[in-house]
Symmetry: C2
Subunit: 203 residues, 2 copies
């Protein structure tokens, strides 16, 4: 509701808004990224193309909002599981599963691709979208610091860059899978390094 | 020279081949990815468009070969520096610098983006291009195992996925920079975990 675009959309016509996102979701599932055009979405949703463009300046903007809606539905917040190891593994594996099992993975690959050719798309991805995605991880790291599992001066930004970087790399090379405990081992390596005296703690 | 496409090109006319890559390099530096089209490259190189398409099926294939030529020029092999820490940091920082200071960074961003929409491009990226890029790192890890710096059963694939994943993430979000020792700290964390008994060693 803090997203200005969304609230304008909602204040105008929440049903049309939802119908458009539903239409984009269906087209993505049926035909992949190439099958989603503003025109096809408008037709399927029974809405006008100008309406779409008034609410979303581009296909990427529409897909980002769809991605966030689906993510909120698919991924609950990670509750306190008593250890940062368990919570971070649950978070990262949940994201990988979400990418693998729903059209969201293909949508996110397309969003990243668009951002390589378009500076505005890069800025929305980096400065609005990613920070929201990292918010859940931040809650986990707060709890980890409160429990003393990682140092007060642990380099949290670097730790998250590494976890998300690994995830992006597997997604973008189409190698997401439930493999032999890779996520568990990586999280353990990073948490060990983030303890006081470790290479991800202190300066 | 093991690349069949390259050797066909060379056997036909090495000067034209080099002129085409030079033309692509200039256009990329002057106008960015959008300024590189097969037609513009052909015109600048004084070659025929059919020649380009005979040697490279797509703009992505041309850019991948250009990227590899420039990389070979810019990045020497990493010599034995006496420690895996020093060698991996030299490798990763060298790659980051290469991406930051030459058009190669933009070219590589474009190659990754193309691979998200085109399965053939994804396969060349993942199955041909990335393994060549990892070869230098493999030499370093061989030396590290010979010195006993990492365990014989260290999970080398995961270690490299993490290092390259971090690098891709910074590249794709346009946050490559010589920052506060992040590469040094990450390499130290991974090497510590790859020692016997660490979370990146053993099963």
């Amino acid at each position: 509701m803090t997203d200005r675009r969304t609230s304008i959309g909602n204040s105008r016509n929440p049903e049309t808004h939802a119908a458009i996102l539903d239409a984009a979701h269906e087209l993505l599932a049926e035909h992949g990224y190439a099958g989603v055009s503003m025109e096809a979405v408008a037709r399927r949703a029974g809405a006008g193309k100008p309406t779409l463009y008034r609410w979303w300046p581009s296909k990427t903007a529409l897909l980002i909002e769809l991605y966030e809606r689906e993510k909120t539905r698919a991924l609950a917040e990670i509750p306190d599981l008593g250890s940062a190891q368990k919570e971070l593994v649950a978070l990262i594996k949940g994201v990988h599963r979400f990418w693998r099992k729903t059209p969201a993975g293909q949508a996110f690959r397309s969003i990243i691709a668009e951002a390589q050719a378009d500076d505005a798309a890069l800025r929305s991805l980096r400065d609005e979208f990613l920070p929201r995605g990292r918010a859940t991880a931040t809650v986990i790291l707060d709890r980890a610091q409160a429990r003393g599992e990682i140092a007060p001066d642990a380099d949290r930004e670097l730790l998250l860059d590494v976890l998300f970087g690994f995830s992006w790399y597997r997604l973008l090379t189409h190698r997401l899978r439930d493999d032999t405990g890779a996520v568990e081992r990586l999280v353990a390596a990073l948490l060990a390094a983030a303890k006081a005296g470790g290479s991800l703690a202190g300066d």
